[in-house]
Symmetry: C2
Subunit: 106 residues, 2 copies
């Protein structure tokens, strides 16, 4: 899949992955895999970006001797998803523009 095309979806996808339940890096990648594949370096960049934007909070938990960072979505993060739904309507209209056939004067 075209990198450019999925760019706008990544942030919102990560938020969606932690929406119903707090999650951590490795699990987020696994959960998203069927829909979008992204590398670890990309994910951690995104998580840091979303944290800076106050769309999620982080909590470090020890799990089997290893540290895990659990990410929790905030209200701002929920709002981001809601806003995305609105933006998607614009996306649909653009899609129509791109795919409409030449039926100018049928």
């Amino acid at each position: 899949m075209d990198i450019q095309l999925k760019r706008g979806l990544l942030d919102v996808c990560v938020l969606a992955a932690i929406r119903s339940e707090d999650s951590y890096g490795y699990k987020i990648i696994k959960d998203m895999k069927p829909y979008i594949e992204l590398s670890e370096s990309t994910l951690y960049t995104i998580l840091k970006r979303l944290e800076t934007a106050n769309m999620l909070t982080v909590r470090t938990v020890e799990h089997g001797g290893r540290l895990r960072k659990y990410y929790h979505i905030t209200d701002a993060g929920q709002k981001r998803i809601a806003d995305f739904k609105e933006e998607w309507k614009e996306m649909m209209s653009i899609y129509q523009f791109v795919t409409k056939e030449d039926d100018v004067n049928v």
Copy 2:
């Protein structure tokens, strides 16, 4: 509208704008405006990129004392649009993932 979100659409939108009829820079911007707004610098960058990718050809025409560059879509350009339609299906599945409610065990 989020810049990232429209990134993947821009190239294909420009191709769509010249699909039915050869067009030139200023006109392309005007035609796209109701759907997507983009600056001149962005458009000319895209046009050059699409030309390098052999998705369009250029022809310079004098028009009222001024030079105009008319852009013509190639077969590769047409194919790009067709491929986009396929990619859109993936986009839709990602959209589903993002917007699906928590109806795990309704």
